[in-house]
């Protein structure tokens, strides 16, 4: 595994995501409120492109009919924007951990370590950034894959 520069931090504002290619693999990088996460783009169910899915919240309930909107008696809708649903069959994955909601023990989408590195550090290497021009003034998103 090696570290790859995939984007400048400014390229992925909070609440957005970006599809990148690393080592022939498609990886989707998310910015959740300033924290970055990287997941394999391919849904483990049937291969749908997670980048094209809906980024949504987590729907939970403590009982039938209890749709708690952060209040007793309503559906609990939390972790807004932290769930990615496959654009095909709708499977839900936690962006922070890659785990699926329908079968958390056995099904997850592969996660990759992400770090933010300043340009100065990058120009020294060793990072795979041949196709990615880097300048010392900016910060960059680095994925280990």
């Amino acid at each position: 595994m090696a570290k790859h520069v995939v984007a400048a931090v400014a390229d992925i504002p909070p609440g957005t995501r970006r599809l990148t290619q690393v080592n022939g693999r498609a990886i989707v990088v998310f910015n959740l409120g300033g924290e970055f996460f990287a997941l394999n783009n391919r849904c483990p169910h049937r291969g749908g492109s997670l980048f094209h899915g809906k980024q949504t919240g987590l729907v939970e309930s403590d009982g039938p009919g209890n749709y708690r909107y952060s209040r007793p008696g309503e559906i609990e809708y939390t972790k807004l924007g932290e769930i990615i649903r496959c654009p095909w069959h709708g499977w839900e994955f936690d962006i922070r951990t890659g785990q699926s909601w329908c079968d958390p023990k056995r099904v997850r989408v592969r996660q990759y370590a992400v770090s933010i590195e300043p340009g100065e550090a990058l120009v020294q290497g060793p990072y795979v950034a041949e196709s990615f021009p880097v300048s010392v003034e900016n910060d960059y998103v680095v994925v280990e894959a």
Partner: protein
Amino acid sequence: MNIEVRQPVHGAKDSGKARVGIFDCDIHPKSSLEDLRPYLSNRWWDYLQTYGQRQRHGYVKGFPYPKSQPLASRRDSWPPGGGLPASDLDFMRQQHLDFYGIEWGIMNPLSPTGQGEQNDELSAAMAFAANEYQLEGWNRREPRLKASVVIPYENGEMSRAEIRKRTGDRRFAHVLFLSRTSELLGKRRYWPIFEAAVEAGFPIGVHVFGSSGRPMSNTGWPSFYIEEITEHSASLAASVTSLIVEGVFERHPELKIVLIEAGFAWIPSLGWRLDQNWKRMRDEVPHLRRAPSEYLREHFWVSTQPMEEAEEPDHVLDVMAWIGWDKILFASDYPHWDFDDPFVALPPSLSEERRNKIYSGNAKALYRLD
């Protein structure tokens, strides 16, 4: 500075899996009412503008069981140039037809077609228009896409007339029903349609959905969309039973029926149950000269989508063997969300021979394209 990533992401290196061209029995091209305009009389165009369609459920737009995703479509199937999923032929080629190596596809348009419309004449007018537009707007530009003969199925004679118009036209693959008809499919009101289809040499495709005007299940109305989609197979089982037990296949030994988007694992159990009871109660149905499961085996084909997902994958193979390897037809259901990707949908342990039959050979034999 931006990394360009071409879509979709699993690409050329996977295409080796399907060495044979794929025959996709279920594609849903999206036309608009405007597209149908040239083929509708002023009378019916004005009627549609004023009164609209009334299709045995209450909404002008949308459904009382709202879909889980807009237009029940894959979120990545909205054309980048605009328009609704599967409305843009170029994008459909790029994302689906060319990408997967689809050699033949059958169009099963779902709307606007007027099927299930409460007004028979309007239904017939829209069926005609939908058929003309399938030819002009789709097949002429993309001959890989075969049309379905859309019919106003709640009116047997009007349907017969529409089928007769299309007789001999090999751009059409089959006659199209939606599964939620107002009566069971074996009932006499539909017999003129079977007669006409056999006369014209068309199989009949029965695609799930539609609105019967009756409760969604035989125990009333469920609450949820997930119940609606799960229970389509139960509903269709009633029509399959009806077709068999009413003796439709005794009257029409050449009639062939394709069940589309209902899954298939329920078929063997239905045959077994009918056989068991026919054994003891044959006197009720003297017109049946063979066991019900024999009619089931001989006259029905099933499409693969939505592919069955058992906890133990071998169980799906058991079921496929019980149904018959020659009766199973690949379908994608593009662009809907429960779409089956041909490269990954079939059980991986299938032999190449069986895989190719399902991808192509069985459909080519059925639709006489071999």
